[in-house]
Structure formats: structure tokens, C-alpha cells
């Protein structure tokens, strides 16, 4: 199985993703640059975290218009599984593959911490079979993770099961105290209408092996491998 990791100028979690694919999963990884017009035969596409183009203009805005995104769009529209992590989530909203937008954290601070997430909504390639009876512990590290969508979009996301990760406390309660950035409805991650494109602010690749202090993130990578094999 082959995972393509897309690297933009300023991406800084691209090699973390490659490491998870190669060292943790034992699968193939291809690192594809922002100028590429081809994704190098992927089964799965990962858009990594970082500060693409220095976060200039708006986070993810310039990366969303990079040449490689035409190929990402084709892959996504063909039903291929795409996961955008942190800056990758911002890129997916900026290019319109996911609804809504990510703005400055409500508290204005850069947030770097472990958070708890519930897995909910529809079973996407990255959440199918992942435990729902207890929250996952996954780190966040971002300045612009406040998810915004208008009321109609929010109602559609909730109604269609497109909210796939939500910030909660360790006991699984979703309230304002468990919300690290002011996201509407504590939303930490969503999927598109078809369910194959997922974006999330937390970093599963940073908690995919015991050395990193957590392994819950691995569940997402195992899920997509399970779905495709």
C-alpha cells in the first residue's frame, strides 16, 4: 500500500508522516513536492502539518492554489482517501474540498497540548473501526484552529454525520472547557459529503508510537490500511 505525502514550502510534519507510514505501518511512502502534477500512484494521500508559505495571507491559502493541488483534487473527487492534518486541514478548507474555514484561536494563543477527541459521525476511511466508547488522546499545535462554518453548513455537517472528531474532556464530555481554540460545536475534524476526505487539527502522526508518549494516533493509520486491504 502506498501513501503519498504532499510537501509544500514550510510543511514541517511531512517527514513525521513518512516515518509513520514506513516505520510504524511498514508500508510505502512517497514524498511529492508542491510543484508536482502527479501524486506518484497513491492509495492514500496525506496533507501534513506545518506553516506552508509562512502562513502568509491566510493559513493554507497559498498551498491550496499550488500546482499539486489539481492532482489532489482529482484523487479526492475520484473517491481516494485524503487526510489533512493541521495545516493540511486548513489547505483542504481553503481549496474547497472541505466546508468551513479555520481562523485565529479564540484565546489568541498558540495552543500546544494534548487534547481528548471523540470519534463520531460517519465511518470514514480514517475512522472506520476506531474506538468510539472512549476518547483518543492526540496532541494539537496550532495558532489558527478555530473552526468556523455558518449555521446552515454546521447543521448540515451535524445532520449528515460529517463531524468526525470533537474536542472533549478525558471523560468524554464536550463543553467549552474542553475546547482549545473556540471551534464551533467543539469541532476538531470533519469529512466531506462523500466521506473520503477528512481534515483534523490534532496530529495523529505525533502519537503513533510509544516513543512519542502516545499511540492513539496510530488507530487512524491502521483504519485506512484496514479499509484498503
Amino acid at each position: 500500500m502506498r501513501f503519498t505525502v504532499v510537501s509544500f514550502p514550510g510543511s514541517n510534519c511531512d517527514h513525521d508522516c513518512v516515518r509513520v507510514v514506513e516505520e510504524v505501518l511498514g508500508e510505502q511512502a512517497a514524498l511529492v513536492r508542491h510543484t508536482a502534477d502527479d501524486l506518484d500512484r497513491p492509495d492514500v494521500v496525506l496533507l501534513p502539518g506545518g506553516f506552508s508559505y509562512g502562513d502568509y495571507l491566510r493559513c493554507g491559502a497559498i498551498a491550496a492554489r499550488a500546482p499539486v493541488m489539481a492532482a489532489v483534487r482529482r484523487f479526492a473527487e475520484g473517491g481516494g482517501p485524503v487526510l489533512g492534518i493541521c495545516n493540511g486541514f486548513q489547505v483542504l478548507t481553503e481549496c474547497g474540498l472541505l466546508p468551513g474555514a479555520l481562523g485565529r484561536n479564540a484565546g489568541l494563543d498558540f495552543v500546544c497540548d494534548d487534547v481528548w477527541l471523540t470519534v463520531e459521525g460517519r465511518a470514514t476511511p480514517f475512522t472506520r473501526g476506531v474506538r468510539r466508547d472512549a476518547p483518543l488522546r492526540v496532541p494539537v499545535a496550532h495558532h489558527d484552529g478555530c473552526y468556523f462554518a455558518d449555521d446552515a453548513t454546521l447543521a448540515r455537517l451535524e445532520g449528515e454525520g460529517q463531524v468526525v472528531f470533537r474536542y472533549v474532556d478525558a471523560a468524554g464530555r464536550s463543553d467549552a472547557t474542553a475546547n482549545p481554540n473556540g471551534s464551533r460545536a467543539n469541532i476538531a475534524g470533519i469529512c466531506n459529503a462523500a466521506g473520503n476526505v477528512v481534515g483534523m487539527m490534532p496530529h495523529p502522526e505525533r502519537c503513533a508510537e510509544p516513543l512519542l508518549g502516545g499511540v492513539d494516533g496510530r488507530l487512524l493509520f491502521d483504519a485506512v490500511r484496514g479499509v484498503l486491504s
Partner: protein, 83 residues
């Protein structure tokens, strides 16, 4: 860019109802400085020089730039002025 370039200005604002945390922080700082209660909304101004046949053509081009890149319609609106 030729000498006859037209100068335009695109102003991008957050939509009403979108939380402007920077604006709030600035309003708080203004209050600390003795300016009393204010409401502040932070926007962006893009000054763009471009080649275009006339002001209308420039305006149309700037609108394409705004919808294609400069503004995110989910959270922002834009306004165009041409000299």
C-alpha cells in the same frame, strides 16, 4: 508592468458575525490606553498595480483576484476601488 499600470485597492473584511479575536484584543488595549469602549474589526488592504485597458477592466480583474485568492468567502467580504 508597463508605465500605464492602473492602481487598485482590495479591502478584505471579516463577515459580520465572525468572531474577530484580534479586534477584541486591540479594543481591550485601546481601553487600557484610556480610549474607552470601542469595537474594532481588523481587515486587510491589498494595493495592487496591474496592467489593464481601463478602470472597468482593472476592477473586473481585481474581483477575480479577490474571489480566487485574496478573500475567503466563508469568512470574509471584499470591496474594490480603482484610482
Amino acid at each position: 508592468m508597463s508605465e500605464g499600470a492602473i492602481k487598485g485597492k482590495v479591502t478584505v473584511r471579516l463577515r459580520p458575525g465572525v468572531l474577530d479575536v484580534q479586534g477584541k484584543a486591540i479594543a481591550n488595549a485601546l481601553a487600557d490606553l484610556g480610549f474607552g469602549d470601542t469595537e474594532v474589526r481588523v481587515g486587510k488592504v491589498f494595493e495592487v498595480s496591474l496592467d489593464a485597458a481601463d478602470a472597468d477592466a482593472a476592477r473586473a480583474r481585481l474581483a477575480e483576484m479577490a474571489t480566487g485568492l485574496l478573500a475567503n468567502p466563508v469568512m470574509e467580504t471584499f470591496e474594490i476601488e480603482v484610482d
